[in-house]
């Protein structure tokens, strides 16, 4: 089972494409899935770090970490799947209004004899129409997209990226932060009633500190920012880039945006709808014939239609 199936990619849809192209597309989506897993993992680790500082309990922290990691992974999966649209492709015309496809292939008002065929024949018609449609595909890479939607998604991911970057930095420099905290504690020890000393830097007897020797996320952030200086910005940008690259790929890579998989997926859906349209038409026609064959008597008083109830 390819890795990409974890984000809902079905390679069987592309069976009519050349093998090289299928391999390439599977490779792309496998790589993308792996990237999303890495992003999810970073989020999980970072959320665990935050939870450890807040709750000082390993089980709770790991539970929250896994939950947040899965949440971010699925959010990213949602962004990926809803980002695969057909704007800039000729398929858009048929995909958003299937009637255009039926009309072009004369599936409207078929003669009655057309419906005497088996369902499999109708399936073949739909498949034939799909193949013809594939030949008509033309893409325009410069077609503009809905910038608001993209901006919202970029903003959400950037926000998550910055939040989880901090968690990762805290884990990375936990020892150094603890040295800073110890120095601050030494300073504040001279004022034993100091609020920070009493409530933030001194652990309670039943809940010893884990990872960072402080009760406060904000103080930890302060220590991190003061200690790292300009390096914090650089590491933030590094983690932010990791969060942004899959999103940029979804929107900008020609192999994804107008890639073979997206086109085949659209064709597959058009084909399915066409086939079901033909089947529906067939059964409508059959049922109408059957109804016409019936000798019906309508009694306006009883509101009943009765079959063969005429009397001599």
């Amino acid at each position: 089972m390819p890795l990409s199936s974890q984000i809902g990619i079905d390679p069987k849809i592309m069976e009519k494409l050349p093998t090289d192209l299928i391999k390439r597309q599977v490779y792309i989506y496998n790589s993308l899935t792996l990237m999303l897993f890495v992003v999810g993992l970073i989020s999980a680790v970072s959320a665990t770090v935050y939870s450890l500082i807040l709750f000082h309990q390993w089980f709770l922290a790991i539970g929250i970490g896994i939950f947040i990691g899965a949440l971010v992974f699925n959010l990213y999966r949602l962004f990926l799947m809803t980002g695969l649209d057909l704007k800039g492709s000729t398929l858009d015309y048929y995909y958003t209004k299937h009637e255009n496809h039926y009309q072009e292939h004369n599936f409207y008002g078929l003669p009655g004899t057309a419906y005497q065929h088996a369902d499999e024949i109708l399936k073949g018609w739909a498949a034939g129409a799909k193949d013809q449609l594939r030949d008509k595909i033309h893409t325009n890479p410069s077609q503009p997209r809905n910038m608001f939607t993209i901006a919202v998604r970029v903003f959400v991911m950037a926000l998550l990226g910055v939040i989880f970057a901090n968690g990762l930095e805290i884990l990375m420099f936990s020892q150094q932060i603890n040295v800073s905290m110890a120095q601050l504690k030494d300073l504040l020890q001279q004022q034993p009633n100091d609020w920070t000393y009493k409530y933030i830097l001194t652990p309670s007897a039943d809940e010893p500190f884990i990872l960072i020797n402080a009760n406060s996320l904000l103080l930890t952030f302060d220590a991190l920012a003061a200690g790292l200086g300009k390096w914090k910005l650089i590491i933030d940008i590094l983690v932010l880039s990791i969060y942004m690259i899959p999103l940029i790929l979804i929107y900008r890579s020609p192999e994804i945006r107008h890639g073979a998989y997206v086109q085949e997926l659209a064709l597959h859906e058009i084909n399915k709808t066409t086939y079901h349209y033909l089947i529906t038409q067939k059964y409508c026609y059959t049922f109408s014939l059957q109804v016409k064959e019936m000798s019906l008597y309508f009694n306006k008083h009883s509101h009943e239609a009765r079959k063969n109830l005429t009397t001599n």
């Binding site: 800073s180 001279q190 003061a226 200690g227 990791i242 900008r252």
Partner: protein, 305 residues
């Protein structure tokens, strides 16, 4: 490779390169010295001090002196330990100067006179303290730099002997046998001398600010008064004891991790340790806690309340 393929491949390589860089950072972060552990505590204290300064500025604005003719104006310029030259313009009300003298003359002939003079002079030093605060804010000094800036300003004037009637200037000789000048003003070696400074041969902080003449306890008292008024989050007190030159007074500052830790005295009631700071010497070696004396005996903290 087509351009289409290039886009994905390059992005992918970039992604994994960033992940690799992150992993390398995890492993070698300490070796690269990216994290400055000492900066946070200093920054914390600095911010804390700045908050206190902001609160006090508001309070001081309410009671500013407005009559120029009733003010004694001075400008000080000195070099601090960081090599920077600082300039301070300040004014002291004449009546505060006169009443400060009176308080000194009426004070006890022992160490408690330091308390009386400090408690009186707080108000008169307000404008000067304001000036120090402005320097700290404008130059963005951390608490250690602020400390050095204040103490170096007190050290800046030449040493001047200050005596009372028990030991007049004419009887004073230094270890080389030289007599000081009888002019009561700051001047180079063999220095000036101020006679009949009753009752304890020490000038009040306001008198030092106006005249710039003082010896060990006058300079230390002045520095301590300014530091106490600045209220930057650490304690400053007067220390007294014996050195090879005889009885002596120094400034005591309670700060963690000073540059030198050789000279200090413990306040036995509070358990706090005050590092001694020689205020008479004007040189860069006379830093906080530095060993400027070979002998350091019977030193005690005199708490100013």
């Amino acid at each position: 490779m087509t351009n289409e393929k290039k886009y994905f491949n390059v992005s992918q390589i970039f992604f994994w390169a960033l992940i690799a860089l992150l992993i390398i950072l995890f492993i070698v972060k300490s070796d690269w010295g990216l994290f400055n552990e000492g900066k946070f505590s200093r920054q914390y204290l600095f911010d804390d001090s700045m908050n206190k300064i902001a609160v006090q500025e508001e309070e001081n604005k309410k009671t500013e002196e407005s009559d120029d003719s009733a003010l004694i104006k001075r400008t000080w310029q000195w070099k601090s330990f960081d090599g920077k030259t600082y300039s301070l313009r300040f004014s002291i009300p004449k009546r505060e100067y006169e009443s400060s003298k009176m308080v000194r003359l009426k004070s006890q002939p022992n160490h408690s006179c330091w308390n009386e003079m400090f408690n009186h002079d707080r108000k008169g030093l307000r404008n000067m303290v304001e000036g120090y605060r402005n320097i700290i804010k404008e130059q963005q000094l951390d608490y250690m730099q602020a400390l050095q800036m204040v103490v170096s300003s007190a050290q800046n004037f030449e040493y001047t002997y200050v005596t009372n009637n028990t030991q007049p200037c004419r009887k004073i000789k230094d270890i080389l046998g030289n007599k000081p000048s009888t002019d009561c003003k700051s001047q180079p070696y063999p220095h000036g001398c101020c006679d009949n400074v009753e009752p304890f041969a020490v000038y009040s902080p306001i008198e030092y600010a106006v005249n710039g003449a003082g010896d060990c306890d006058t300079k230390s008292l002045f520095a301590m008064a300014i530091l106490k008024c600045l209220n930057m989050g650490f304690d400053a007190e007067m220390l007294f004891g014996e050195v090879e030159a005889g009885h002596h007074a120094m400034l005591g500052v309670c700060v963690p991790n000073p540059p030198h830790r050789n000279l200090y005295a413990n306040d036995l009631r509070t358990g706090k340790r005050y590092y001694a700071w020689e205020c008479t010497q004007r040189n860069d070696n006379a830093d906080l806690g530095a060993p400027v004396w070979r002998m350091f005996k019977n030193w005690r903290v005199h708490p100013i309340r």
